[in-house]
Symmetry: D2
Subunit: 106 residues, 4 copies
Amino acid sequence: MKDELNMSLQPEKRPSEPRTEEEKQQLQNRLKRIEGQIRGIQKMVSDDRYCVDILIQLSAIQAALKKVGYTLLERHTKTCVSSSIKDGDGDHHIEELMKVIQQFSK
Amino acid sequence: MKDELNMSLQPEKRPSEPRTEEEKQQLQNRLKRIEGQIRGIQKMVSDDRYCVDILIQLSAIQAALKKVGYTLLERHTKTCVSSSIKDGDGDHHIEELMKVIQQFSK
Amino acid sequence: MKDELNMSLQPEKRPSEPRTEEEKQQLQNRLKRIEGQIRGIQKMVSDDRYCVDILIQLSAIQAALKKVGYTLLERHTKTCVSSSIKDGDGDHHIEELMKVIQQFSK
Amino acid sequence: MKDELNMSLQPEKRPSEPRTEEEKQQLQNRLKRIEGQIRGIQKMVSDDRYCVDILIQLSAIQAALKKVGYTLLERHTKTCVSSSIKDGDGDHHIEELMKVIQQFSK
């Protein structure tokens, strides 16, 4: 499925090393918190809160999302990218890594 | 309440012009979509999806949050900041605007 | 002249309030320092310095450029945008401000 | 030397594979162009050009610096990081890579 962010999703693909249950739980906890923060902003909009306050909370969510992203990036580099390098065909994964870093750092 | 993003929240403060119900509904629709996208990522984590795919979806959420933020920024500048400028004490609101722009653009 | 960053330059246009010589000097000092930092990186490339070190210095230049940008943004908002708001036709300048903020915060 | 951007410079360190003269020349050409753009902005300040026009040109320089940075990042990952991974001690270099990516993407 082509994603409008010009990098195609690869639904069949899995990490070179499956995530442990503990890894999954840590990610889910952080995502649950972010989900709660989004609902918090919905409430601020209903309460017609001051615009700057809502923007501050939006910034907090962006910061939290970035942290999740960098956790995924590091894990990906230490597993999928590293194993492809050890197998001698790292360039494709490195170029993919650079593309997603640029996408994610916009 | 001091927010760890070093700008204090002002829970009592309201926009100089209350948001219309239509404005609120548009913001809520976008926030609901973002909330859904977060849950989508939770599912990707459970399904142990490929790291790059999750990062692409995270980038999409960041882009959506940015759009919401810029909508709020423009509205804030056209209402609260403008009315303070017309009242002759715009500097405080402009400095606050610059601070939140830097915060939001990190 | 159409700039590839999709905002047209307006060479004939001047700030609503001319910059003082002191303002100009402060901006020029900072720009001179940045120019020196760029030459510093050219030297690092000639000396075949470690990539991460060059990237750290590039980040320092980006941070310095951002500060110059936010100084210009605040000045612009306090002069050109404010005077247009007082004259009752602020919306155009506010929309232009939002566009340049998005451009500048990429 | 401790850099205020909290990552220490490593003046003695060199890339695992020296840059070719061609690589160096390409980087120098781009850095020369950026240097010229900085001087262009100095002229715009002297000519008291419209703030938004200067900001547009600043954004162009930021974009050019980012491109140089991503070229360095990709080269670094394909050489220094890859060789450390093949040598079995990739984690340090990967963590350093993540840190400089976050620094560079601010």
